[in-house]
């Protein structure tokens, strides 16, 4: 890995000031996306702003009709939160499918959302539940947050502080795991909260996570697998790689959406 300077701020404000001061700096959370790419010299930040010692960034809390999760909450903490299992089990199930136990001990929800890997699980959960990403500067609706593969609406000196998920009555996530990497070949998160119906897909789109509006429309009548029986999505704009063709991914979206609806 290339050399860098290391900073260990104690507060979000100090961290943001460091990011503003050093334009080539990067936040370090769990490090399970950033350190691998630094080791491969695919990233070479001038400065690392390690936020592991910043207090008050982790925990799962119910606030009114939402669940608020701190950015530094590790995957295993989210997976093990009884509070979350009680109020929003579909979300509690997501981190348990991420990577392996060692990855889950370090990786954080904020890091996963900020990274917006096109095959990551949490972006689907955010978009599929209509979460709000809360930063040191503002609140960003997930519909506006994920702007493309590995890119988000975050400004260079903006830090995710927490994420607020509205509690949906019905929700479920179905993931078709790549057998070697464990990442989602395709993953579909569905939810219904009053009139707000969401079907979010990860792993398939060449611009990252997206919503399937045709399915959402059809589900307005009845939130059930029957409502989208026989419906398909076009392979246009989906990824083809060594693991799967765009056509196969398009097929999986229909299958997984129906499975998720059956489970919701």
């Amino acid at each position: 890995m290339y050399a860098f300077k290391y900073h260990q701020p104690k507060t979000v404000r100090q961290a943001a000031n460091l990011l503003a001061k050093f334009p080539e700096a990067k936040v370090l959370a769990g490090g399970h996306s950033l350190i691998p790419v630094m080791k491969l010299r695919l990233a070479s930040p001038s400065d690392i702003v390690d936020i592991n010692k910043v207090e008050g960034l982790s925990g799962v809390e119910v606030k009114g009709r939402s669940v608020v999760i701190g950015a530094m909450t590790r995957h295993f903490e989210v997976a093990g939160s009884q509070t979350l299992k009680d109020v929003l089990p579909a979300l509690a199930g997501v981190p348990g499918s991420i990577g392996d136990p060692h990855v889950r001990h370090r990786g954080t929800i904020g890091g996963s959302v900020a990274n917006n890997d096109p095959n990551a699980d949490y972006p689907a959960a955010c978009l599929g539940l209509g979460a709000t990403i809360i930063t040191n500067k503002r609140r960003i609706a997930s519909d506006d947050f994920f702007t493309g593969m590995f890119s988000t609406a975050l400004a260079p000196d903006e830090i995710i502080v927490k994420i607020s998920f509205p509690v949906a009555k019905k929700a479920a996530y179905q993931k078709f795991k790549h057998p070697a990497s464990g990442f989602a070949l395709v993953g579909v998160f569905v939810s219904k909260r009053g009139p707000d119906i969401r079907v979010a897909v990860t792993g398939a789109g060449s611009n990252g996570v997206f919503r399937v509006t045709s399915f959402e429309e059809a589900l307005k009548k009845r939130f059930s697998p029957k409502s989208i029986e026989g419906m398909t999505v076009t392979a246009e704009g989906l990824n083809t790689d060594i693991h799967a063709s765009a056509e196969y991914r398009a097929h999986l979206i229909g299958v997984l959406a129906r499975r998720a609806l059956a489970a919701a």
């Binding site: 370090l28 390690d50 136990p101």
Partner: protein, 162 residues
């Protein structure tokens, strides 16, 4: 270069390191604890698994400076230097849970963490799922799974349980 201090296998240690030193490099190169292995450069193989403040982590994906003040347990610290093997190590020996042995330190550290989280009665399905982050190129896993089930049972009531 900053001095990084932590507790490794119960002993306070410190060494001068370049900021970009990974925890695994610190353990192997500065402390000469070469039981922890490096099997990949993509954070996937688990040969480097150690316990950081009581939890299994990949020491190849953590910076040494991040571990300032932390408590680290490596394969060398599992059993006393001249005492009997830790029950999990003994179970790997009894059940032929290794061939070349390269993955073994990571497997054993992951196995002990598994017992810490899931208890002493582990079925085959659970063990296989929990081994997602540990790759073995030799054994085909069968005897590793057997070793872990036996080691988990043997850890019950053992004073050595890490």
């Amino acid at each position: 270069m900053p001095v990084v201090s932590m507790t490794v296998n119960g002993k306070a240690v410190s060494a001068d390191v370049d900021i970009r030193t990974l925890l695994v490099q610190y353990l192997r190169e500065s402390l000469r604890l070469t039981g922890t292995h490096v099997g990949c450069d993509t954070s996937q193989c688990g040969a480097c698994v150690i316990h950081l403040d009581g939890k299994a982590v990949k020491s190849c994906t953590t910076l040494a400076v991040q571990c300032e003040g932390s408590n680290v347990l490596t394969i060398e610290g599992l059993a006393a230097p001249d005492g009997p093997l830790h029950p999990m190590q003994e179970a790997f020996r009894e059940n032929h849970g290794l061939q070349c042995g390269f993955c073994t330190p990571g497997m054993v550290m992951a196995a002990v963490d598994m017992v810490n989280r899931k208890g002493n009665e582990l079925d085959e399905h659970t063990i296989r799922q929990e081994l997602d982050g540990n790759l073995c190129r030799c054994t085909g896993y069968h005897n590793i799974v057997k070793s872990i089930a036996a080691g988990a049972k043997a850890m019950k009531g053992s004073s050595q349980a890490a």
